[in-house]
Structure formats: structure tokens, C-alpha cells
């Protein structure tokens, strides 16, 4: 998976729109990098606090030791979770590309990307992994980008565990607008179940209704759980999905 310079530059200018956690200075040291510190309040010095956090101006006035508490933005961590079920055939490619786009933006601002159970801070190694990436876990902390066709309702349960998430609903053109097939024996690619249906105009109209309701159901659920919901076709331009669709959904800023 490669990207030209122009695309990389534009992706690096993006910023993942996440609730960035702020820690308090004076606490036990934590491995944080970068980020701006903001004054929050004074408190009495206790043994163990850092000496540099002592506000000497207050000591001069009051003759007592007080420390300054500050908040600092944490670097974002992006968790990429790609649905690896059999139904994702034909959709994995765009899912990986969109995931790569998000990862590039996160790495550019010093963040980290977790994919396939590994943490990446460098782009090349991440891209190599993304070539065949699928699966992943839903962590409690960090931002989760979940790529799936959402045919399995059971996916809602593990998603709930993620505090911040964006659900990218990928569907093929045939799933979005199936053709008239006449009398057909439909076979589920994952379960192997088969049903016979006559697929004519009436059935296609009914399918469109059901699909819209299905997508709307997921959208509503995501909204209820504070997640972003984006739907895209597998044949859509992935860069446009990243820079336009995800921005409109508030996943990117």
C-alpha cells in the first residue's frame, strides 16, 4: 500500500476529532509527550510532589508550600478494528485504505496506532501490517475505528465497550442495489444457509426499504452510544471518504 506525496501531505494535515484526555501535573509522572499544559488550581504540598511544581510566589506571600496543578492533552491512540468475516470480501480493500488514511493522520500528530494487536508509531511498518490486517479488539481507552458491513447484529455488543468510536459501514454496490435475478437460490456466504426467492421489482423495492431501515438502525444506535456512523460503498474513492465523508461525520477535523 503506497501513497504519493500529495496524498500523504493532505492526510498528515488532518486531525482525528477525539476527546483528548487531560492529565494533572503533579501526579505521578506519566510517559507523556508533547501537548500543552494549562493551570488548574493550587493544593498543599505533600511528600512526593515534584519540587518544580511548587508555586514559590505563594510561598513568599503565605510562608506555606503549595503546588500548581496543570492539565495536559494526551497524544491520541487510534485502534483499527476491521471486520474479518467472510462477508467482507470485496470490502476489505477500501476498509484498509480508509484505515491507513486515519492512521497517517494520527501518526503525523505524534499519536499511536494499534492494529492487529500491535502498536505502531512509524508509518511504513504500519502500512505493511495494514496490507493484510483484519480483526482487532475493542479497547476501553483510545479511539476505535471499526470497519464492517454490519450484517452481524452481534457486533453491537463489543462495540459498546469502546468509549470513542467511529463505525464505518462498508457495503458493495450489489448489496446497496442488487440486480433483478428472477428466480434465485440465495446462499449466505457465512452460514451457508439458502433460501429461494423470486427477485423482481417488488422484491428490490422491499429490499431497499429494509436496507435503509437497517442502516438507519445502526446510525441511531451509534448516535445513542456516542459513536460516529459513516456509510460508504466499496467502490467509492477512499480518499474522498477520508477527507470529506469522515469530516462531515465529525471523525476528522
Amino acid at each position: 500500500m503506497t501513497f504519493d506525496e500529495d496524498v500523504l501531505r493532505r492526510l498528515e494535515s488532518l486531525r482525528l476529532a477525539v476527546r483528548r484526555a487531560r492529565g494533572r501535573e503533579g501526579d505521578r509522572p506519566t510517559p507523556r509527550r508533547g501537548g500543552a499544559a494549562e493551570f488548574v488550581a493550587h493544593r498543599t504540598y505533600t511528600v512526593g510532589d515534584e519540587i518544580r511544581s511548587i508555586d514559590w510566589h505563594v510561598y513568599a506571600r503565605l510562608g506555606q508550600l503549595f503546588v500548581r496543578e496543570r492539565s495536559r492533552e494526551e497524544e491520541p491512540t487510534l485502534h483499527l478494528v476491521i471486520d474479518a468475516s467472510a462477508s467482507m470480501q470485496g470490502k476489505l480493500e477500501i476498509a484498509r485504505r480508509i484505515a491507513a488514511g486515519l492512521a497517517i493522520a494520527v501518526l503525523a500528530e505524534g499519536g499511536r496506532v494499534v492494529a492487529g494487536g500491535r502498536t505502531f508509531e512509524q508509518l511504513p511498518s504500519l502500512l505493511e501490517t495494514l496490507e493484510g490486517a483484519s480483526g482487532g479488539e475493542f479497547p476501553e481507552r483510545g479511539f476505535v475505528a471499526y470497519f464492517s458491513d454490519l450484517w452481524d447484529e452481534r457486533a453491537r455488543e463489543p462495540l459498546v465497550a469502546a468509549r470513542e468510536a467511529a463505525v464505518i459501514h462498508v457495503l458493495t454496490p450489489e448489496e446497496l442495489r442488487p440486480p433483478a435475478m428472477g428466480r434465485a437460490r440465495l446462499r449466505d456466504v457465512e452460514t451457508g444457509d439458502e433460501i429461494e426467492r423470486f427477485v423482481g421489482e417488488e422484491e428490490l423495492a422491499k429490499y431497499a426499504e429494509l436496507l435503509a431501515a437497517h442502516c438507519e438502525s445502526w446510525k441511531r444506535w451509534c448516535r445513542e452510544h456516542g459513536m460516529s456512523y459513516v456509510r460508504c460503498a466499496s467502490d467509492a474513492p477512499w480518499f474522498e471518504v477520508v477527507t470529506v465523508t469522515l469530516r462531515e461525520a465529525g471523525v476528522i477535523e
Partner: protein
């Protein structure tokens, strides 16, 4: 292709039934979808008629249709109709007369050239008629005809074709140089120039010849004399006495009539008188002499004369008169007479002798003529008491030899004299008169129902395989 029972073809309507049944039973397309989540929520319904799609090409259906078509076709008794030549039954009459051995300008004899024109098929049934030393008939097929024809050659004489044509069943193909009514002619003529001897005979000392001549005038030399021939001609010539005469013309393309050999030979020697065992044994020992009951015969030739030997006849033979009988004592012979050559007169004996008058005497007893010859006859006027003498067989050998020289001139049949018709090599100037005779053609049917049954079986197997493969 035609059908013996075309009504069975109505069963092809079963193809329509097959197609409808196939459409009704046609399996729906199998489509793999990501999930049946939404499809299961769509009610199943029967497809409307207007939504029937044009059937997709199905190899299995096509093969099934071919099975039905092949079975129906077999039921209709199909056959291939063609015309095939019908074997012929042919009678072929071969003209083996001497004239057919005349050589043409192309070096072939008339017989060979005419035979080459024959064209038969291997399955034709042939009956062949010809004459060599007797009328002959052969039956076989066209495949064997050529080898049989190689065994047959013209004979050195004329043949009577009428007898063969009378027995040959029609149609009759005639191999000859002259056409005959009612036959299909395979004729090879061409030769017109010929000179031949068509008659030869000798009367006394005069040779008579008759020549046949066809073509421009020519001169030939016969027995040393130049003769000009412009057409048929008769010719005479005095000859001296001889036992054998050969008359020969310059060779031409028909050689059989260019040479005639005449041999003096009586038709028979008749012995009249008594039978005697010693005489019989002596005559048997002489070449070409056969003994009858009372006659001694050479090989007999028709129309010729006889030579008679009378032995002690009871009466006077024609041309001779017998005198009184007496007992002879002394014997003498005419000087250098051929009949008494090498005989010993001192051993001659007889009980009684009779004087013979007339003719030319050659034997005398007591000075009286007791044996004479005249006009083809010898008269011995005494008995055969001398049969035990050496002179006995000598005399009879001389007598038979004498009979031969005194016999009538006869033209032998061997190197021979042909009739004028054989020497007439004119008439047909065409090289041939008939081409191949076409065979009739009759319709022949080749049933192919079994082929269609086999095809139906093959299609059925293929249809089963195609159906299994599509599952």
C-alpha cells in the same frame, strides 16, 4: 435422408414438452450474498408469467433434445437412398475365326483389340461362348473374365457363330470384326489389305489356285511365276509329280491364308480278298495303317479316292481280266518296279495262280502276268502261300507306299486353307463399334435407424454427464 414411417415424426412434438418441462423444472440461479438478514424478511412468491426469462443455453437440455430427436428419428425408419448400378447378366460371344488373328496397324490382332473394348463390372454375371475345337461355354463374374479371356485365342479356320448366337441369352455382346443383328458389337476391324490363297487343288498334273486380294494391286511370286493381283483371281500351273507341294505368298498382316501345303495321300486302301493272320500282322506294323475287318485304312479324308488291292479275287476286278488258273513254278518281276523292290523271286511260291490281264503287270509266274496295277488298284492273281517268306512284308510295305503315291491330291487341313470369308479382311474399317454399355441403376436403401439409436444413446450419456457437472 428419407423416412419409411414419416408419421412417427409427429412425435417431435415431444421436444416442446421437453422444453416446457425443462423451463418448469429449471433450477434457479444460485447467488451468493453477504447475508440473508434482509432477504429473509422478503416474502417468497411465485414468479409472474411475464417475468419468464429467455431460457439460458443449457447443454444438458440441448443433449436431451437431441436424444428425443434421435429416438423419434429412429422410430421413423430413416434410410439413405441412393442409386446403385445393378449387376448385369451378359452373354458374350467371341468370334474366334481365323480372320480375328489379322494384325492391325497398332500391332494388335483384331481379337485382342475387340476384347480390350469389353468393360464389365466385377459383380456382373457373365456367360462366355466361343469355339475352339468344339463349342465352349464358361460362366463367371466380371472379376474373372479377364483371366479367362487370356486363355482363348482364334483358331486357324472359320467358325459358325450362328450356333452360338442361337443359344446365347440376350443381351448378347459380340466380340468380332463384323456386326450381327441383335447383338451389341465390340468390333475391331480396320485391316483391308490382304492377299491369300482360298482354294488349292491338283487334278492330274495341274495345280489350281484361287487367290483372294483386298487392297491396291500388287504382284506376287508363286512357284517362281510373277502374278499380278488386282482382286480375286484363279490361276493354273502344270506341276510334276511329287508327294508334297508348298505354295507360299509373301507374308502380310493376315498370315494364315498365305501358305498352303498339299500332300498326296489317298483316303484309304481297301484290301479285298481273304483274311490272313500273317497279312494282318504285316499291315499292323506299317505306320498309319489300321486294320478293319476286310480293309486296311489310312486316316480317312473326306472326298478323296480309294486305292484297292485285290488278293486272289474270285472274279475279274474292274479293268482287269483273269485267265485260267495254273500251278506256278518260276517267278519273275518287272525290272525296277517299285512294288517288287527288294523282293526275292526264288522264294516266291503259290498253290495256284491266275493270269491277270489289263493294267501294268509287275510280277510273272511261268512267264504269265499274275500281278498288275492300274488306276488306283493292284490285283494279285495268286494266294498267300508265300506269307512266310522275307519278300512277303517287303511287298506289302511297297504296296502301301505305292498306294500313297498313286492317291488323289488332297489339301490338308493343317497349315491350311481357309475359306474365302476368312481371307476377306475388308468390311470393317472402324477401330471399334461399341463403347461401354451403361449399367442400369436402381434405388438402394441404406437404413440408418441403428445409427440414430446409437446416437441417442451417446447423447443420453453426454446429457447425464452435463447434468451432473452443472450440479
Amino acid at each position: 435422408m428419407s423416412f419409411g414411417a414419416p408419421a412417427a415424426l409427429w412425435a417431435l412434438a415431444a421436444l416442446g414438452v421437453l422444453l416446457l418441462f425443462s423451463l418448469w423444472r429449471s433450477r434457479p440461479d444460485r447467488v451468493v450474498v453477504s447475508s440473508l438478514l434482509l432477504w429473509k424478511q422478503i416474502a417468497e412468491r411465485m414468479p409472474p408469467m411475464k417475468s419468464a426469462r429467455r431460457p439460458r443455453f443449457s447443454l444438458s437440455l440441448l443433449l436431451q433434445a437431441l436424444v428425443v430427436a434421435a429416438i423419434v428419428g429412429a422410430m421413423a425408419d430413416p434410410y439413405l437412398e441412393r442409386t446403385a448400378p445393378v449387376p448385369r447378366t451378359i452373354s458374350i460371344v467371341l468370334d474366334t475365326s481365323a480372320r480375328m488373328s489379322a494384325v492391325r496397324a497398332d500391332g494388335k490382332t483384331r481379337f485382342d483389340a475387340a476384347v480390350e473394348m469389353l468393360t464389365v463390372e466385377p459383380d456382373d454375371r457373365i456367360t462366355l461362348y466361343w469355339i475352339d475345337d468344339a463349342p465352349r461355354r464358361w460362366q463367371g463374374t466380371g472379376a474373372d473374365l479377364r483371366s479367362k479371356l487370356r486363355e482363348i485365342r482364334p483358331v486357324p479356320r472359320g467358325v459358325d457363330l450362328d450356333a452360338l448366337l442361337a443359344v446365347a441369352e440376350k443381351p448378347v455382346w459380340l466380340v468380332s470384326d463384323r456386326p450381327r443383328e441383335g447383338t451389341v458389337g465390340f468390333l475391331a476391324g480396320e485391316l483391308a489389305e490382304n492377299t491369300g490363297i482360298v482354294h488349292a487343288s491338283i487334278e492330274g498334273d495341274e495345280l489350281f489356285l484361287r487367290f483372294a486380294h483386298y487392297g491396291p494391286p500388287r504382284e506376287v511370286t508363286v512357284l517362281g511365276e510373277r502374278i499380278r493381283l488386282e482382286g480375286p483371281r484363279s490361276w493354273w500351273k502344270k506341276i510334276d509329280a511329287r508327294d508334297r507341294l508348298v505354295v507360299e505368298l509373301p507374308k502380310d498382316r493376315f498370315a494364315l491364308d498365305d501358305r498352303v501345303v498339299l500332300v498326296r495321300e489317298p483316303s484309304g486302301v481297301v484290301l479285298r480278298g481273304i483274311e490272313h493272320p500273317a497279312l494282318a500282322r504285316v499291315l499292323q506294323s506299317i505306320t498309319r495303317v489300321g486294320q478293319g475287318r476286310t480293309a486296311v485304312l489310312y486316316q480317312t479324308l473326306e472326298g478323296a479316292g480309294e486305292f484297292t488291292i485285290y488278293v486272289d479275287p474270285p472274279g475279274s476286278p474292274p479293268g482287269f481280266r483273269l485267265g485260267e488258273r495254273f500251278a506256278p513254278e518260276t517267278w519273275t518281276a518287272a525290272k525296277d518296279h517299285p512294288l517288287t523292290r527288294h523282293m526275292k523271286m526264288d522264294e516266291m511260291a503259290a498253290a495256284f495262280a491266275t493270269e491277270v490281264q489289263g493294267g501294268t503287270p509287275f510280277l510273272f509266274a511261268d512267264g504269265k502276268p499274275v500281278a498288275a496295277e492300274r488306276d488306283g488298284a493292284i490285283v494279285l492273281g495268286f494266294d498267300l502261300k508265300w506269307s512266310s517268306t522275307v519278300s512277303f512284308p517287303i511287298f506289302w510295305t511297297n504296296a502301301i507306299g505305292r498306294a500313297r503315291t498313286l492317291g488323289t491330291w488332297v489339301a490338308p487341313r493343317a497349315e491350311n486353307l481357309l475359306d474365302a470369308a476368312q481371307s476377306d479382311t475388308g468390311g470393317i474399317e472402324r477401330r471399334g463399334d461399341a463403347g461401354p454399355v451403361e449399367r442400369e441403376r436402381a434405388p438402394a436403401r441404406t437404413p440408418i435407424g441403428a445409427v440414430l439409436c446409437g446416437a441417442a444413446l451417446a447423447f443420453a450419456v453426454l446429457a447425464w454427464a452435463a447434468d451432473r457437472r452443472s450440479r
